[in-house]
């Protein structure tokens, strides 16, 4: 079966500058594809092309395997796009949900049924007759979700839909969105700069940097094995450091990083110059004076804590081991161990947790000796 939507060699230029180039991208029927990237990476432009609101200067867009010739209205009416701001009209909540259906020619009785269903599904049925200008930000996003789902589109495109909301509201709405997507099985593209949202919703994820898709694959795979430094950084691997592979044996590659040798999983074709990539949650901290328990972890480093940052119930610990190393621990562990900046600390992590990436000519990564913040 042909993918629901495909892009082939699609190029978008703005004032002569290329802002997006997608060689190949397929959105398959029924999947939830996350697209993550930093601000200005081209995520919204990508979504504009996918939603047929912008025609690429080059290349083609295929819908159900058939080439799209322009901004075809009939195809646009088979999709729904939810933007970052709800942009509700100066009408009642119910009328806001109805407007897209009315434009698409949904009969009144069917409209009414869908309005009731989706306002109730997103818990805003009681606001149906209220002016959309007199509801809260979180409620407006719920109405916007109801408006998109009520269209019963074949393809749902979400452009950082909750970016403007506070954390608790965002968490709740993400859960509700995940639930609704699960119930409907809608083919969805979800653009975000928040990797946790991509992890939560996306079965597959595409990472876009500087207008190009750098990596695309199963979410778990992309997060575990980022293809390059930018992708690694976007998927939350905070420790990224340049090293030189000095040995490979028994499936383990040993990489020299300054005065340390770090062990990671070897793979075929790994060059000498590599980047060592490590996620902070994979690092375990111990007091250096503690008796080191016998452990299967292949890597043990000593360093000095340079900063401790509280992140709700977690804490990010920055360590100078001759290169910047980051660990994510619980607030409880932080308090029990009494960790603070300036203390000596030992860090351990498994070879499995170390992802080694071939280092390109322009990819330095922080050199050993850089001081972490």
């Amino acid at each position: 079966m042909a993918p629901k939507l495909s892009l082939r060699d699609a190029v978008v230029r703005r004032r002569g500058t290329e802002v997006l180039r997608v060689e190949s991208l397929d959105v398959h029927e029924g999947e939830v594809l996350g697209v993550i990237g930093p601000n200005g990476a081209g995520k919204t432009t990508l979504l504009q092309v996918m939603s047929l609101l912008e025609r690429p200067a080059q290349g083609e867009v295929l819908y159900d395997g058939i080439r799209v010739r322009g901004r075809e209205l009939s195809l646009r009416r088979r999709m729904a796009l939810m933007m970052q701001d709800p942009l509700l009209l100066r009408r009642s909540v119910a009328e806001n949900v109805a407007i897209g259906m009315r434009m698409r020619g949904v009969p009144p009785s069917e409209r009414k049924a869908r309005i009731d269903r989706w306002l109730a599904r997103f818990d805003v049925a009681h606001l149906a007759q209220r002016s959309a200008r007199k509801i809260s930000g979180g409620e407006a996003h719920r109405v916007s979700l109801a408006r998109a789902f009520a269209l019963e589109p074949e393809l749902l495109l979400l452009d950082e839909p909750f970016a403007a909301l506070d954390q608790p509201t965002r968490e709740t709405l993400l859960d509700e969105l995940a639930g609704a997507l699960g119930e409907t099985g809608l083919t969805t593209v979800f653009v975000t700069h928040d990797r946790s949202e991509a992890l939560r919703l996306g079965e597959r994820v595409a990472v876009i940097v500087d207008g190009r898709i750098r990596q695309i694959g199963a979410t778990a795979e992309v997060f575990a094995t980022p293809a390059d430094e930018d992708v690694a950084s976007l998927v939350g691997a905070e420790t990224i450091v340049a090293g030189k592979r000095v040995a490979s044996a028994d499936g383990i590659a040993s990489v020299r990083v300054g005065e340390h040798v770090i062990n990671g999983l070897a793979r075929d074709g790994l060059p000498e110059d590599v980047l060592v990539v490590l996620r902070p949650e994979d690092v375990t901290l111990m007091k250096p004076d503690e008796h080191r328990p016998e452990s299967s972890a292949r890597n043990h480093l000593h360093g000095t804590i340079t900063r401790v940052t509280l992140l709700g119930y977690q804490a990010r610990v920055s360590i100078d081991c001759g290169f910047p190393l980051f660990a994510l621990i619980t607030k409880q562990s932080l308090e029990e161990m009494g960790l603070a900046a300036g203390q000596e600390i030992a860090a351990t992590f498994k070879a499995h947790a170390v992802h080694l990436i071939a280092r390109g000519p322009n990819e330095g990564g922080p050199a050993p000796g850089d001081v972490c913040d």
Partner: protein, 231 residues
Amino acid sequence: MDLIWDGLREAAHILRTGDNSIWAITLRSLLVSGSAVLISLVLGILGGAFLAFKDFRGRNIVLSLVNTGMGLPPVVVGLMVAIVLWRSGPLGHFRLIYTPAAMVIAQTVIAAPIVTGFTAAALRHLDPRLRTQLYALGASRPQMLWIVLWETKLPLMAAVMAGFGGAISEVGASMMVGGNLTGETRVLTTAVMLEVSRGDFALAMALSIILLVLIFAVNAVLTGVQQQEKM
């Protein structure tokens, strides 16, 4: 002071007794200015939407011209329209000079830039992403335009008020292209001028009161709708 009181008393008497010719003049004023405002609305909304949404070279110059047009002296408009409609003028063969149609044309030239300027300003104040969102919801271009106009109906009502006010209260152009002919092209403003020149202040006052009441009534209705919409 006597002149004012006597004038007001006499005006009240004229309004009470209801001279048919006065009501004919009033009706003609409403028809001429109403038609001019309706035509201006069509031209002004389309022109304003084009100026607001279309990015083209020289847009700022056109906007400046429209803004200048919002303050066009009626006498100058009258002169231009008279030259065009004059029997030997480019459109002279239509024989429109000294007809209500000529007055509608002149008042349209006065009101259309006002409606265009207000419309362009109102639409340019809208969040540009709203148009994208509407297209994404499945709007065709006319549907998008209708919805954004509906969304800006409060400032658009101000455009109608300003356009109607500008059209019905001008005198120079109507006098020049209409000729103030009894029973044909005499409207409230030209009638007031005539009666003042004749020294009949009472009748001039009565006509002025009608003119003010008309303008007030139209504005009161539109303001009422505006306020209701705001709630």
